[in-house]
Symmetry: C2
């Protein structure tokens, strides 16, 4: 119980000195979404903005967790600190994170220059995106040079979070089934960098050439005249390709910092955060203000006396969105 | 251009007579989300409520599309009509559906008693859930006895839609990788019926016994004293298990219609629809009303002069959620 009494202010001071326990506690408060920690989060946000935020996404089975582990080890070799925010799909009932993949990262856990956080995928409406990006701020303000957001590349909300990174890495693996390939198509075009994992496998060349022809056909949106989306073959088994991957990451980080297109994208990411946060607050307030009516209106809907739109309009009745001037 | 002039009212009349073209056009109007078709959707909603709505979900590679095809063929043998709403993850840029899996259903396409619709996964905030459930209404009102909602079992928004069905079937397959198994854990507990697909494979017994021990440990939430969640092994290759699956589906349909717990769950589904629709409308109106301020506030956020919460509060400034009495 004593632990809960630590003020958010003192946690901020300690987090800025990269105290792991303080960072973890601030992330938990951010996840809880209570108003008390907002001034602390605002202080961290003001100090943040230096880290290179990398979104790593791919379908289940693409090997992205192994890639993240190996990449983190290689980045650590240069002395840079690496934070990892893993956004895992969670049970809609328990609200807990799935820790399965994280076990592979055990070799990193004892390293003081690495901070790993699994985020529960909280209620929809921006809660997950909001809390994940606040966790990124904590690491960024604490001076971590790289912050990796790892998300599963399936699901609207999940892909949206990867898109809030400066650099989006989409991981493909050879030999996945048809179902999985079909889903993959939805995320390929958001890549700034393509990685083909498991390139020690003989069928990796097919995956690499498929991606390259897709890029030639101009199906990539992440790329532009100023940034050519590369395809990087890697193997976590033998360490191949990670030097090239780090070069590409640093190259894209420079592109984001120094180009007008990069700066414009950073402004769009800020707009995305602002809207997610506003929608999260609006949603909470709407639900709170309508608690008394929910049962009555949903009973009428359930009996089909009114339609879903009519029910919705009853709940929204009288809300004035124009605001006061 | 002429086609666009057909009134929603005349489409409703034709859809109630199960005219496929009229049903498809109403679904497109529902997806577009324009206000004009709401009276038509309200009429359909008032006529709906008889179909057994079945959510079928599973991780990529679980074989759920093949299962849906085989199940549909078996249900058709009894003369019942079957509608399929497939909610596929789509590109965040193109907004289009992925049709890959649907190809397997070609044998069903020529059957007048089967209607298949792939939904684009539109913007977040209930748009996808709202439009998918409106498509269910169209089929329900047109007298289809079964409506299957097929969703990929990864992603908050996607799983939420499966949960709006009367009966939730979670499909597991033997021999999937670690990454996929970890994700699967998040949806297992929402099952009313577990299906183990590909049970002609030798490693299927392991998957079946894993699910059964999980159920024994009481990890299932879908089950209750009144409904014991069954584990049904199926094989689309040899047709095994589909008779048992249909018995379980019909048994759960009866449970939903006849038990107080089932009726309560139907009320909760109505409440979910109402809230999704309200949030969708609220979100659209909020964005429309704030267009003029977005650029100014997000520029301040981007420069870190204000925090995401402060930016959000500026956008929400003056919104009165209490409503007029």
């Amino acid at each position: 119980m004593m632990a809960a009494l630590v003020s958010s202010d003192s946690l901020v001071t300690r987090a800025l000195a990269a105290d792991n326990a303080a960072m973890a506690r601030l992330m938990s408060r951010a996840e809880a979404g209570t108003a008390e920690c907002r001034p602390a989060l605002a202080k961290l946000y003001a100090k943040a903005g230096r880290a290179h935020v990398i979104g790593i996404t791919g379908v289940p089975g693409s090997g992205k967790s192994t890639l993240v582990s190996t990449l983190t080890l290689k980045l650590r070799a240069s002395g840079k600190r690496v934070g990892i925010i893993a956004v895992d799909p969670s049970s809609p009932y328990s609200g807990g994170s799935i820790m399965g993949d994280r076990i592979r990262m055990s070799e990193l856990v004892s390293d003081e220059g690495v901070f790993i956080r699994s985020m529960a995928t909280r209620g929809a409406h921006g809660g997950m995106a909001r809390a994940s990006l606040e966790a990124v701020d904590v690491l960024d303000a604490a001076g971590f040079e790289y912050v990796i957001i790892e998300t599963v590349g399936v699901g609207q909300a999940e892909v949206e979070i990867a898109r809030a990174a400066h650099t989006i890495v989409v991981v493909s693996a050879p030999g996945l089934g048809d179902d999985i390939q079909a889903i993959k198509a939805g995320i390929l075009e958001i890549a700034d960098i393509h990685v083909v994992s498991k390139c020690d496998r003989s069928d990796a060349n097919r995956t690499i050439s498929d991606l390259k022809s897709m890029l030639t056909m101009g199906l990539s949106v992440g790329g532009s005249r100023l940034w050519q989306t590369p395809v990087v073959p890697t193997s976590s088994a033998n360490g191949e390709g990670f030097e090239q991957l780090i070069e590409c990451l640093d190259g894209h980080g420079q592109f984001m910092r120094k180009s007008e297109a990069g700066q414009e994208r950073i402004r769009r990411i800020a707009e995305f955060r602002m809207l997610k946060t506003a929608e999260d607050l609006l949603h909470q307030r709407f639900l709170n203000s309508r608690q008394g009516e929910l049962a009555t209106v949903s009973a009428q809907l359930s009996d089909r006396r009114i339609s879903p739109y009519q029910a919705a309009e009853r709940l929204l009745n009288g809300i004035n969105l124009q605001g006061t001037p």
